[in-house]
């Protein structure tokens, strides 16, 4: 009895073993990824600054994904894997596609650019002005960086390049006062847009952070909706500190969106993926170079492809 039972079990086992083998040799069917490939993908995502948690989340999705194999595609190619990853990224990022330039009647529309030092605020201000000029909008650029040497001159050059009106205060004057006067000036000039460039500040400097609140508070006296957009400019080479940046700026003045710059280098700015998911903020644009038209509207699919080096 015992012998028969054992024999039966054994044949049963060998049958299923055969089945598995067959599935592998015939190759057509569904297959999951092995751990080595998963680790490789995880490494690639981490290297793009996605962060450990976000990368693990995506790899977990990948782990459960069944790849459809056909007589044409007999093995899971890297391409196939990355397509799946891309779809996952797109799911997160698609909600962040949003235009900065919706038609509005509340003029002048005030855009406040903020961020840490060197993230590219001033260059971005120039580029936004250029985009708006192409739409035949009347633009005022205001220099509220009253601290850094030659910050005003730098912005002034952008204003003249983009043929925008330029507003500045006297040296070392109060940033909020300059913003207020700039809005008064923009109203008088009947401008469509006012772009306010602020001084770079690290998000852990309380005094400088309070200055941002003051700017918002003061200009809202002229228009309760202003500033209409409060955008944090993030450096594309930034790592996980971007979380702290967005969190702190958002708590300070409730951001309306993000712009990520310097994506023409080798950095991927992957941290934006988890930022988009966590803070549900639009990504208005990406900076891809130093020229005046090197600012692209953010497209989730294009970005995901670039992040994964996909064609």
């Amino acid at each position: 009895m015992a012998f028969n039972w054992f024999k039966k079990l054994k044949t049963g086992l060998s049958k299923s073993a055969q089945k598995v083998e067959k599935a592998f040799t015939s190759v057509i069917g569904k297959k999951k990824l092995d751990e080595n490939s998963l680790t490789e993908i995880e490494d690639q995502l981490i290297s793009s600054d996605l962060g450990v948690n976000a990368s693990i989340k995506i790899v977990d999705k990948l782990r459960n994904h069944k790849f459809e194999l056909t007589s044409k595609n007999k093995e899971i190619s890297k391409e196939m894997i990355l397509q799946v990853v891309k779809d996952e990224l797109n799911k997160i990022l698609i909600n962040s596609e949003k235009s900065l330039f919706k038609d509005n009647n509340d003029k002048p529309h005030v855009i406040l650019l903020i961020g840490v030092n060197g993230s590219g605020k001033t260059t971005t201000a120039g580029k936004i002005a250029s985009m708006l000029k192409e739409k035949n909008k009347k633009v005022v650029i205001a220099a509220c960086d009253t601290f850094r040497a030659a910050a005003v001159e730098q912005l002034e050059q952008w204003a003249s390049r983009t043929k925008s009106l330029f507003f500045k205060g006297s040296n070392s004057s109060d940033a909020a006062a300059v913003a207020f006067k700039a809005l008064e000036f923009s109203i008088k000039e009947k401008a469509d847009y006012l772009i306010v460039d602020t001084a770079g500040r690290l998000q852990n400097k309380t005094g400088l952070m309070d200055e941002l609140s003051k700017i918002c508070r003061v200009i809202s006296k002229l228009n309760a909706n202003a500033p209409h957009n409060k955008i944090v400019v993030l450096d594309g080479t930034v790592g996980q500190n971007a979380h702290s940046q967005v969190k702190n700026f958002n708590e300070q003045i409730q951001l309306t969106g993000m712009i990520i710059t310097k994506l023409d280098g080798s950095a991927k700015g992957g941290v934006i993926v988890s930022l988009a998911e966590q803070f549900k903020l639009p990504i208005f644009a990406v900076g891809v170079g130093e020229k005046v038209d090197d600012l692209d509207i953010f497209k989730a699919d294009d970005y995901s492809k670039a992040l994964l080096n996909l064609e």
Binding site: I46, R148, A150, Q154, L202, V238, Q240, S266, K268, E290
Partner: protein, 498 residues
């Protein structure tokens, strides 16, 4: 996140109450979390991988201290290796060449080159008393040259005047010529920011480098940089001979893993860190602080350090007890040698003593070096366990065996044995007579890990020290400094000082 990590480490090892050496499993468990900690601090992945391998090699087999968990012990080891990997605290600038000494600042856009150039000028002028000239080669970014000019004015140093339509290469030549004429000591060249993928701009950097032949080529990097730090470091060090790194914006709340990536890839020291927007906001780099920030497990590290100190104290106490009973054997001697080595050998201990400069020459003259310690250690290691506790066993043939086993002569073995016996006798005496206080202090000074022990433990003046040592007739008595609780190191046979 990292409070979590610390808790987690605690949890993982709560069940493991055993003491002893760290097993591979202990280490691997802890390193999983360390890996995440480093990645979250923005250390580049490939650097993390290398680092983890290094830690594993060093950590497996290390002893776990009483009252800490294996996980905590691993964290401490990681911290130590991290400090090591980050390099030394003081890497001075190469400024003592024939003037004008050229310093070239390179980096990505927005990394902080221009502000750093101003700070460097300020530093060189005020701290090094140099005549400094700033020159901007950034013809691309609007008002970049204006920015440098203003910073130069604030720092009160020379600034090369602008002229339109000039290439960076020709500005470089003009700057060199002008600084020669004006007798400038240091010329700081601020270059345009560039991305690593821009071939034209990278070629330009190479040309400027060749033209200016800088003594220092400093890569300015944002301490908030993420994984791309490794690409930046590679790209710049491939085309230029980078001599150092300056990390900007360390006054933010970034964990600053880029420091490790930059250091690992370039192999060059981090010379300065930027700590504010002001001109004086440039400081030297401190690896311990940087490591603490990257790992963010300061509590665990200080816990283990405390445990180490306690154990050293306990050991010293125990030894004192044995000594006062007159049982000072070869094992005790070995321990003492070990403690001395921990402190950086004889020269290390000596350097901590006040007023030792005079003595140092004499020490050298008397063959007073660390090789002697190594030899003594080797001799004791060549003894059997029994021999170590009972030197009475050492007959002529055993001594011969020990000598050949340790690569020394029978004469040297004899001398060591004699020293040990002298010491044992003396210890007993001291123990009986009293005067233990001072002596005990000396031991805790030797055994402890903190320098703060030293002032209490060590004699305050050279006279005091000599007096104290004079009391200790510890072999090697060719001169007054035969002691510090150690057998004599003099090259001459011992003669007791009464």
């Amino acid at each position: 996140m990292f409070e979590n990590l610390t808790n987690k480490l605690g949890k993982v090892f709560n069940s493991l109450k055993k003491r002893g050496a760290l097993t591979e499993k202990d280490v691997d468990e802890a390193l999983k979390d360390v890996r995440v900690a480093l990645l979250e601090a923005d250390v580049s992945l490939e650097v993390v991988k290398d680092f983890i391998v290094k830690v594993r090699e060093r950590a497996v087999g290390q002893e776990v201290l009483k009252s800490v968990t294996p996980g905590q012990q691993v964290v401490k080891i990681v911290n130590d290796i991290l400090i090591d990997a980050l390099g030394t605290a003081n890497s001075p600038l190469e400024i003592n060449h024939s003037p004008p000494v050229v310093m070239l600042l390179v980096g990505l856009q927005g990394s902080g080159k221009t502000t750093t150039a101003g700070k460097l000028a300020f530093y060189l002028k005020n701290k090094e008393k140099k005549k400094v000239m700033l020159a901007s080669l950034d013809i691309y970014r609007p008002a970049a040259r204006e920015q440098l000019r203003l910073l130069g004015e604030q720092a009160e140093v020379l600034v090369l005047p602008d002229s339109d339509g000039e290439s960076p290469e020709s500005i470089t030549k003009r700057a060199l010529a002008s600084s020669k004429v004006q007798g400038v000591d240091v010329l700081i060249l601020d270059t345009a920011g560039r991305t690593t993928l821009d071939d034209i701009m990278m070629t330009e950097a190479k040309n400027i480098f060749k033209l200016s032949n800088p003594s220092e080529t400093l890569l300015v990097a944002d301490s908030m940089t993420g994984q791309d730090a490794v690409n930046t470091a590679k790209a710049f060090s491939e085309i230029l001979n980078i001599t150092g790194v300056i990390l900007s914006r360390t006054d933010g709340d970034a964990r600053g893993g880029a420091a490790l990536s930059m250091r690992a890839i370039t192999g060059k020291p981090i010379k300065f860190i930027g700590v504010s927007e002001k001109l004086e906001g440039l400081e030297t780099f401190h690896p311990e602080r940087a490591a603490g920030r990257i790992l963010d497990m300061g509590d665990v590290v200080s816990l283990v350090e405390k445990a180490q100190e306690t154990i050293a104290e306990e050991e010293a106490e125990e030894m004192m007890k044995r000594l006062s009973q007159g049982s000072f054997d070869m094992n005790d001697m070995l321990k003492q040698i070990g403690q001395l080595k921990k402190l950086g050998g004889l020269s290390g201990v000596m350097s901590m003593l006040p007023g030792i400069g005079k003595l140092q020459k004499q020490m050298e003259a008397h063959n007073f070096d660390d090789k002697v310690i190594a030899k003594q250690e080797a001799i004791i290691y060549s003894m059997t366990k029994k021999e170590r506790t009972n030197v009475g066993l050492l007959n002529a043939s055993r001594r011969k065996r020990i000598a050949s086993g340790s690569g020394s002569s029978v004469h040297e073995v004899n001398r060591l044995v004699k020293q040990q016996q002298d010491m044992a006798r003396m210890m007993k005496k001291v123990g009986k007579v009293g005067g233990m206080g001072a002596f005990k202090n000396m031991f805790s000074g030797l055994g402890g890990n903190s320098e703060s022990n030293m002032p209490n433990g060590m004699p305050g003046s050279i006279e005091e020290m000599q007096k104290m040592m004079g009391k200790l007739p510890m072999g090697g008595g060719a001169n007054k400094f035969s002691g510090i609780g150690l057998p004599g190191f003099s090259g001459k046979p011992s003669k007791r000082i009464k």
